[in-house]
Symmetry: C2
């Protein structure tokens, strides 16, 4: 339990704390040195070697969205009590370690995960359906940066509590002197429940926030997306062993769609912290049932685009199309509802009718989604077959009510002819078709919505955010007063508003150390990456006082 690893990573930690304060652009990690699939391919069809409790069983739920083939990997499956027992047994040494020791070990874990970036990225590709590029960045370096951000915020929060104090006060003619000691005590066993399509981005912050504050952690991957988390957990466990800690501190709870264990974990009497990413319905169940555990959730929302006015329209359409296509909109930050004034959109090239806007947007989407090489890089594959069923349903509803501008058409993946793919479904509806677009339709679905004007759109969209949740929002306007109104309204509705963004950055890109992700002000989740309240409750302060002297004058 030396501070060697703290010394090794101290500059990174200090730089991360500084970045959280200034919220400027920064990353702890460079591009991975390799993107070779060799390590991933060597794992296929074989047992996943790790030394945790349980018995090996093939994970039938884990099927590549690209090949349609099972990965054929068997993982150790242990029942919940055994995982909790292992975590509890490993806990004391970790709990008693200095926060600097724990921070050093956690940052070493991040570095080791990064060292396996290529293997983790291919695992991500063949479980989530992400493209390799997104797997290396969004699920790789960016996700790790959010983990480092959580370590930095938690370390800063712990550092604000002094280790001791000397306290002296007069009581009548006497002065009482006490020496006080303040101990940081972790809350207890933490459970991190991951989603199927983008596990790392939420798991790393939760895992490291709980770990660095001294808690044991059980990671519960989605049964169809186990491998990336298994690799990350193994890398962390190896760092624990190498640092003299019990690797049982971090467990992996592998379950199946047929026999899920999430509710057992959340309700386990020893569990004190739950981080959950997934559906809004399950998230509400977790928030209502986690007690006495504290719950941090990120669920889903319905994100909107407000078109008020624009200078040049084409870059806007390209930006929107890119965002609708990115990972086939299987992201909690993807926009869905695009409001356009029915009287037309004022632009630098004159008034653009809703019809022209909608056709232009459909063209811009097609320019990505129907060109196989571009589509493969941007859209990737569809994680779950259920998404295709949903697309079919929504397509029928939209056709019955409005007009389908673009059918949800698969594209042919250049390397994987069996890939489960789909371009966006784009439909034009009226603002009165609220039942069609009020809730999140997870996947590549977007609506162009005729509205009276951009203020009506703002009222509708922010009310939907308050009632159904929203994480992001987008506005285009040449009128600053409108953007001011929109920013104020979205601040209260609890979604992040991005205005007038075009160019190469994906609209819904969320930067570690800079962008607060989820606000807790609407049903899209109660936790924010990474504010003080995400880290401050994971440890508690207990104090002791000893009489130093009681001098009488």
């Amino acid at each position: 339990m030396t501070t060697d690893l703290f010394d090794k990573h101290r500059t990174t930690l200090e730089r991360a704390i500084e970045a959280c304060r200034t919220r400027e652009s920064w990353s702890a990690y460079g591009e991975p040195s390799t993107a070779s699939p060799a390590a991933f391919e060597a794992q296929l069809g074989r047992p996943f070697e790790d030394d945790g409790p349980g018995v090996q069983a093939v994970q039938d739920d884990e099927i590549s969205p690209y090949t349609g083939e099972p990965l054929g990997i068997s993982y150790l499956r242990a029942d919940v009590d055994r995982l909790v027992a292992a975590a509890t047994q490993a806990w004391p040494r970790w709990r008693e370690a200095d926060p600097r020791v724990r921070a050093g070990v956690c940052l070493e874990m991040c570095e080791r995960i990064h060292a396996h970036a290529a293997e983790l990225a291919h695992a991500t590709v063949h479980t989530t359906g992400q493209s390799l590029g997104m797997s290396l960045t969004g699920s790789g370096t960016n996700a790790l940066d959010r983990g480092v951000e959580a370590i930095a915020q938690a370390f800063a929060a712990m550092s604000r509590v002094p280790g001791s104090a000397r306290w002296a006060r007069a009581f009548g003619p006497s002065t009482v002197e006490l020496t006080k000691r303040y101990r940081l005590v972790p809350r207890g066993v933490a459970v991190v429940v991951a989603c199927a399509s983008f596990p790392a981005w939420n798991v790393y912050p939760a895992l490291f926030a709980s770990l660095v504050t001294g808690n044991p952690v059980i990671v519960k991957p989605h049964p169809s997306s186990v491998l990336q988390m298994a690799l990350a957990v193994r890398a962390c466990r190896r760092v624990l062993t190498a640092s003299g800690f019990d690797p049982g501190l971090i467990g992996l709870a592998v379950d199946t769609t047929a026999e899920p264990v999430t509710k057992l974990l959340v309700r386990h009497p020893a569990v004190r912290i739950v981080d959950f990413t997934g559906s809004a319905a399950f998230g509400s169940w977790v928030e209502a049932n986690a007690f006495p555990a504290v719950a941090y959730t990120e669920t889903s929302g319905v994100n909107s685009v407000l078109m008020h006015s624009a200078g040049e329209l084409q870059p806007v359409l390209r930006a929107l199309a890119g965002s609708l296509c990115l990972f086939s909109a299987q992201m909690c930050t993807s926009p869905q509802n695009i409001y356009v004034p029915r009287g037309g959109l004022p632009t630098g090239d004159g008034l653009v009718s809703v019809e022209e806007f909608a056709e232009g947007l459909a063209d811009a989407v097609r320019a990505v989604s129907t060109v196989p090489r571009r589509a493969a890089a941007v859209l990737g594959a569809i994680q779950s077959p259920a998404t295709l069923t949903l697309l079919d349903e929504v397509g029928k509803q939209a056709a019955a009510r409005g007009r389908v501008l673009l059918d949800a058409q698969p594209y042919e993946h250049p390397r994987h002819p069996e890939a489960r793919t789909s371009g966006p479904l784009l439909a034009r509806v009226g603002i009165d078709d609220h039942d069609l677009f009020a809730a999140e339709r997870f996947g590549p679905v977007a609506f162009v919505i005729d509205c009276d004007d951009a203020d009506q759109a703002l009222a509708r969209a922010t009310q939907d955010a308050r009632e159904h949740g929203a994480i992001t929002a987008f506005a285009y306007a040449t009128d600053d007063a409108y953007l001011d109104r929109a920013e104020n309204a979205y601040a209260l509705a609890g979604a992040a508003l991005t205005s007038n963004l075009t160019g190469p950055m994906p609209l819904n890109f969320s930067a570690a150390y800079s962008d607060y992700h989820v606000t807790g002000l609407n049903p899209a989740g109660n936790a924010s990456l990474t504010d003080d309240s995400f880290v401050a409750g994971r440890f508690r302060v207990t104090q002791s006082r000893r009489a130093a002297a009681a001098s009488r004058e």
Copy 2:
């Protein structure tokens, strides 16, 4: 909405933030300039003048524990919806005010409450049964200091979020530049539920933590202890008016024992924050039912004294007796279970048998509780008649099982012959009589418990803390190794341990800015005065981004 009040109180705020960091002794307030009962007496039997919603009704539940007479004051009673509506209507201007403006206004409120210290203290005396001395300090300056502490911690937390950032990052050959703005958004209507016997100490921190972070607050006093809170709320409302804010921002929900409104408030759909002080059972209900509101609770616990060894015994007995007598142990920090090794207690004057210890403690208690002037100053009166019933019950149980060392005898109050008083019930039992002492017996009840040794006592007491809650603990030992073990065990059990304290400071005195009160690690409550997690969740961060430029090389 100027920063005049911030400028006025800036030094106090900075000093408080510094005290929270060093945790040294400090107070923002001197002794009150008067303790005159004139203002309090002028209020008796008259309507309480305030300009909130509702209709005046005499508060029959408010009966002085000293005189047995109703105070006869009528308060405005408004239904929950009207209070929430008033709070919601007053909210926008406060929410939009700069945190410095809000901090200045809150510190002015504290100053105005302090200016009415004498009136509030007499109100406290005749509702809670506290002595005048305790009403002026524990419910006066010390409670206000805990309020200032919460303001300081919340202000520091808000200050850690920058207002804006400029962010630039390369995407391929282009650099994307964004200007970002971070807004602090309060969570929403806050409810503060006060207890009957010591309302100010928990209400001030909760009230000001929620207020300074921008939330409207409804204070719900106990029906038998309204006046002090009504005076405090009115003082705060007048500061709001004088500062140009709507006084409806702070409401007072007056209810009756027959028709309580707490559950209606906690479950009101507009309520987003609940602070609760009261019984463990009701606290658990609040924690389980507050969702989607966030709940901060302080309930009750069973606090212990571990006798391992001592130098001089008499100062220890005096300190323990003082703590058992202080406000007739109607405090969540009062000790109840005193463990003594049945083989005797090693002291500087030789081995002291349990019998001798128990008799000595009883004598030390009698020296306070049977001398009317001392008793009046230390014990005060019994807030609720239910406490006398409980004392009777516990006395019978103890007599049937062990030996009653001291009956719960009333003392004759020098100025109020009708006062409801009681000295401590002190009983000697064995460690196997666990059912008698496992739970908190609220009021002046203490057990001297024969145990094998101090380590058995430590195991029993910390397990009780984990299962039934505990806030404080006390140990006496000349063996530092034992104190180290005890500190570690209590750190995990989540109670604050005070060791070897004798002299003029009451054992269970908890100092603002220095002592963390409640840990959240056991059932005695989930919130701590005042750590980051007590304040960080009362506001959220929402962000907006605007494209600054997208330059292509």
